[in-house]
């Protein structure tokens, strides 16, 4: 039996959350020795994009990319191994959590410098357009990316050339511990700013995964019809600390009340209630799905644990092409 779209979205969100919570739970073991930026609470935009994009479409992202990688079809085992610094990781241990790639899934790469992959995504779209191919590129960004110059420069070029690129903005109100109020003028709409740059922009509730999916699918359809670059802003909220496994509502940059209000809008609980009530799933489906996810996550951590570390010589490979490496003596 093939899954319905709502079932797929729920399953993908449950899977992302299970992975992120497993990372959070095990982080104190000190075996994942790199910064981790978790997407717990904001799984919906990733899951929605994963379903709206075709497997052959491409995606790039930033520091908070686990969810995007997984939703796009990135290999879970290779991601967990990467976070553990293992040779079997998706970057052979060289990149860690902030650098993920799975070319077979069209997830070209995520990097750690805010805004860094925005022009890269536009360049991938240029290559696709010039090759006369139908695929598009999804550029996952956060609200802070609308403060970078490179975003406006890239949007301008994308609009100029009507490139097949979707800027998908998860507006979670914060950049690290800095609220939008100290970074952008009051009343500014990110979507309107994008629209002023020539991107066709829409905005919606990023904790409503079905609505998010509708917005992204509509934008993707416009891209496929040749209507040029699109921007979708989805309002959501990060539950855990900016970087790391803990909660940080106690340190004073946001209120516990604000957190609780957003937690009540949990995208997973919301869709689960909706589908249970409407008969889209039943408790047996939920139990089976959660059980299968748990097994998969446990297997991924076991794989990472059992995997070898890269040998010391690997610290000095992949820097130059083999041709150049051979003439550096």
């Amino acid at each position: 039996m093939t899954a319905t779209l709502p079932q797929r979205l729920l399953r993908d969100m449950l899977r992302i959350r299970a992975v992120e919570e497993a990372i959070a739970e095990r982080y104190a073991e000190q075996k994942m020795r790199c910064p981790v930026h978790l997407s717990i609470g904001q799984e919906a935009p990733a899951a929605a994009a994963g379903a709206a994009l075709a497997p052959t479409d491409l995606a790039v992202s930033g520091h908070r990319a686990h969810a995007h990688y997984l939703a796009k079809g990135g290999d879970l085992k290779a991601m967990i191994a990467e976070i553990h610094g293992k040779a079997t990781g998706c970057c052979s241990g060289k990149g860690g959590s902030m650098h993920l790639t799975d070319l077979s899934a069209g997830f070209v790469g995520s990097t750690a410098i805010v805004g860094g992959t925005v022009p890269v995504g536009v360049g991938l779209a240029l290559a696709r357009q010039l090759a006369g191919r139908g695929e598009m590129v999804c550029v996952f960004i956060g609200d802070a990316v609308l403060e970078t110059g490179v975003f406006y420069e890239s949007a301008n070029f994308a609009a100029l050339r009507r490139l097949p690129v979707l800027f998908l903005c998860e507006n979670n109100l914060y950049s690290v511990y800095s609220p939008l109020s100290v970074r952008q003028p009051a009343g500014r709409s990110l979507a309107e700013a994008a629209s002023a740059m020539g991107l066709n922009a829409t905005a919606g509730d990023g904790n409503d995964v079905l609505a998010s999916h509708d917005l992204i699918a509509a934008a993707a359809a416009r891209i496929r019809r040749g209507e040029g670059p699109q921007f979708v802003e989805l309002a959501t909220y990060r539950w855990r600390e900016h970087c790391g496994p803990m909660f940080d509502n106690d340190i004073g940059y946001r209120s516990p009340a604000e957190f609780e209000a957003w937690r009540a809008l949990d995208p997973i609980a919301r869709l689960t209630r909706q589908l249970l009530a409407g008969g889209g799933i039943d408790n047996a489906w939920l139990a089976a799905t959660s059980g299968a996810i748990k097994d998969e996550v446990d297997a991924a951590f076991a794989f990472a644990d059992a995997s070898p570390f890269p040998g010391p010589e690997a610290a000095f490979t992949d820097i130059w092409s083999p041709e150049v490496a051979a003439c550096r003596r």
Partner: protein, 351 residues
């Protein structure tokens, strides 16, 4: 003199500067947030107000150019980057405007802008959160580049940067923030272009910088117990460099080892060795040596960083070799009671 951490010394310098001169501004990502840039800006906004101490958009290039303009307009801005790597977005404003302004307008106008850049390392900081690119900045005429090692120097050099008339790249290693030492109270300036002699000795001149000066001090102390005596200069200032101090030391010892915190190719160590080779040839009794990071990015996996950095044992071994001696470095390795990818017991990740 009160004892304080390096991070506290930086905070103290900023507080002293803000209190002393209303022209001083302190800004950067996270400056007023609850973590206060690893504690270095904590409480400053409450004391000095949100007009002078403030957060900023994630707009490094513009906020650097705005700092240039503010400095030309009579202010003394201090801009902080939590990692040097983020400041790379502002290279245009640093190199084409800040560094050139005085020159390209024939001396009309100066840019007293201080840019703090924090150097990351370990705990999976990885390829884009751990770069030591001091040589890039030291290469640009018009910029001053300092990399203090001790709390006293951090405070005095930061105050000198703020109250001087030049654009300054102020490099603070994340692994130094918790290092404790004595630093004078109140206002004082340490001039640029002066190395600090951390250990006096006669056999080998060791020139180091930033965190590498601490590693070198461990190495030199270890060798002293074996009867070898090293003259250890903490560079402090990478441009201008204290050539007279280096010259005088090398003339006495005839041997030079330079320990660089950056990559070997095109690094500051190469510059110092070129200086020795071209100006001190007749004084050298052995080929000069350098220890630097290899020409490879820092990987994320701890398996790939274990042998990547220069540590005290490598420095000790290199010095001993230059003197035709051998040394047992096991005590240096044994003295570290925590994993190689953290600065000490106090660091529990993730940033």
């Amino acid at each position: 003199m009160p004892s304080m951490t390096y991070g506290e010394a930086i905070r103290d310098a900023l507080a002293v500067a803000l209190a002393r001169d209303p022209a001083v501004l302190v800004y950067g990502l996270g400056t007023p947030d609850p973590k206060g840039v690893f504690g270095t800006t904590l409480g400053l906004q409450a004391t000095f107000g949100a007009d002078r101490v403030f957060d900023m958009p994630t707009s490094e290039n513009a906020m650097t150019g705005i700092g240039v303009g503010a400095a030309l307009g009579g202010l003394r801005p201090v801009l902080t980057h939590q990692r040097l790597d983020f400041a790379l977005l502002s290279l245009d404003q640093i190199v084409n405007n800040a560094a050139k302004w005085r020159f390209m307008f024939g001396g009309r106008g100066s840019v007293p802008l201080t840019i703090r850049m924090i150097l990351g390392r370990g705990w999976g900081q990885g390829p884009t959160h751990s770069q030591n690119l001091q040589s890039w900045f030291a290469h640009v005429p018009g910029l001053c580049v300092v990399a203090p090692t001790t709390p006293e120097d951090a405070k005095g050099l930061l105050l000198n940067a703020i109250f001087g008339e030049d654009p300054v790249i102020f490099l603070e290693h994340r692994w130094l923030h918790n290092v404790t030492g004595e630093a004078p109270e109140g206002f004082y300036r340490i001039p640029f272009g002066q190395a600090r002699r951390l250990r006096a000795g006669a056999d080998v001149t060791v020139v180091a910088m930033s965190l590498m000066s601490l590693e070198a001090a461990h190495a030199v102390d270890h060798l002293a117990r074996e009867g070898l005596s090293c003259d250890l200069l903490d560079l402090r200032s990478l441009n201008p460099i204290d050539w007279p101090a280096i010259d005088a030391s090398v003339r006495r010892t005839g041997r030079l080892l330079v320990v660089d915190a950056g990559q070997e190719t095109g690094g500051v160590a190469g510059e110092i060795i070129a200086h020795a080779a071209t100006r001190l040839w007749g004084d050298l009794r052995a080929p000069p040596r350098r220890l630097a990071m290899p020409d490879a990015p820092e990987a994320t996996s701890p398996a790939l960083t274990a042998a990547y950095h220069v540590r005290a044992e490598h420095i000790a071994a290199a010095i001993a070799e230059m003197l035709g001696r051998s040394t047992d470095t096991t005590p240096l390795v044994a003295a570290r009671r925590f994993p190689h990818d953290v600065p000490g017991d106090w660091f529990r990740g993730p940033f």
